[in-house]
Amino acid sequence: MVSKAKTFSSVLTLLAIGVTWEVAVRLFNIPQFVLPAPSAIVNTIARYSNYLLYNLADTLLASALGLFMAATFSLALSVVLAYSDSVREAIYPILSGFNAVPRAALVPLLALWFGLGMVPRVLTAFLIAFFPILVPTLTAMITIERELWEMLVAFGASKSQVLVKVAIPRATPYFLSSLHMGLTSAVVGSVIAEMVASDRGIGYVILSSTSRLDTPLAFACLLLLALITFTLSKVLSLVERRVARWAYRANI
């Protein structure tokens, strides 16, 4: 757990950065469309709060749906691939190959197939978030120590028992921590999709505001998005420590 002193020093550092930024912008007369001062960004957030929140909610919904799909699918696929060596050997190389495809480049195709609505955004979020969750989860499931495996076999464990009683519990903390990576990936995915093919969401707002040289609005979007992703990540950490307390034994 982060101590109060550490939190305090982080806040202090952040404040110092903000003040330096503000002073620098004013001192060097930097035009607002190049780099808006923090005060201008905060003003913009206050002025456009309804509009921003509406679009933010839209982006978050797409990200959340994409992340949920990615988490469910990764977990299910990990179990299947951990259980069957032959299926894993057949499918895993294909998955890795797919991971090499730049998913952002798929957005125009997704838009072509599914239109400008929620679907291409959710799918992009899913496609980007899926692999970072699958890899650590599956690896944790298939790397049971030889000795432990021998012990289980000596006690008469079947393959499915090893999977249910050891592999899956063992992978739980890896799965949960990969959700952090999945969360940020999903947000990146939906924002990209919104920039390419959407008429709403934070990605769309960033794109349209920069094209009008409304840089404070773009920064407001970035700030809000970072804040909300950070908060969600913290929530995930709490869940992690509750569900897989044993994995954090050094810090209890």
Binding site: E150, L152, V153, A154, F155, A157, K165, W246, A247
Partner: protein
């Protein structure tokens, strides 16, 4: 009486990149009911391989293992195993770790709870049933592993250098505990170790293995009546046995 385990002319060959490696060859060994057999040998002499053959984890490439009169290629029922590391599952409490073999055998777990608690008390773990393994010291973790190896009253207890990771004092405590549970429930046990003193103190018979390929060099019967006392170690006769086995091991 028919031996519990008969090992006849067993050979194990591992295939590796350099062709084959014969780990053990021409091994004959009987393990009788109620007996504690120590297997000593230098590292790489195949003693762990022999134990794995008995456990059914490794299939012999030649020869056979006859268990209680039946031929069996692998996976004997009724084996309890203790390894060098405790291999406890960190997400399970001590009690649930101990009950794991019952779960794996698909038996009624609840009905074994009283036995688990009794074993824990006997082995000095009373009050730790709801602790997690990582809250215990190495010696205590190995005690949990011992309870787990015994929970289902195995007809054969296999010990693979179970105390070599412990400090000397804890190890002596564990010797006495092991001896007590073996006598109390009249277990048949095979103890693989590189510690001759441990083998002599705990075994009725010590099998000396030689290496490359692993084979049985000699068997030495240790006549001291069980249970034995730690003080035995300082006696002349005990040390004569230790010296004899040491010389049988060779250079």
């Amino acid at each position: 009486m028919e031996p519990l385990v008969k090992i006849r002319n067993v050979e194990v060959r591992y295939d590796n990149r350099n062709g084959g490696l014969v780990a053990i060859s021409g091994v004959d060994l009987d393990i009788r009911q109620g007996e504690v057999v120590g297997i000593v040998g230098k590292s790489g002499c195949g003693k762990t391989t022999l134990l794995k053959v008995i456990a059914g984890l490794v299939r012999p490439t030649r020869g056979e293992v006859i268990y209680n009169g039946t031929h069996n290629g692998g996976g004997f029922r009724g084996i309890g195993m203790l390894f060098q590391s405790p291999l406890l599952l960190p997400w399970r409490t001590v009690l649930k770790n101990i009950l794991l073999p019952i779960e794996l055998r698909g038996e009624d777990v609840d009905s074994y709870v009283p036995r688990a608690l009794e074993l824990m008390e006997r082995i000095g773990l009373k009050g730790f049933e709801n602790s997690y393994p990582w809250e215990l010291s190495g010696g205590m973790q190995q005690r949990v592993a011992l309870c787990r190896a015994l929970i289902h009253r195995p007809s054969l207890l296999l010990l693979d250098e179970p105390f070599s990771a412990l400090d000397a004092i804890t190890r002596e405590d564990m010797w006495m505990l092991l001896q007590e549970v073996i006598s109390y429930e009249n277990y048949t046990a095979v103890l693989v170790t590189h510690d001759i003193r441990e083998a002599v103190l705990l075994s009725d018979r010590v099998v000396v293995m030689g290496g490359r390929p692993g084979r049985v060099k000699a068997e030495v019967t240790i006549p001291f009546r069980r249970p034995r006392d730690l003080g035995l170690q300082y006696g002349r006769e005990y040390n004569d046995y230790v010296a004899k086995i040491r010389s049988l091991l060779g250079d």
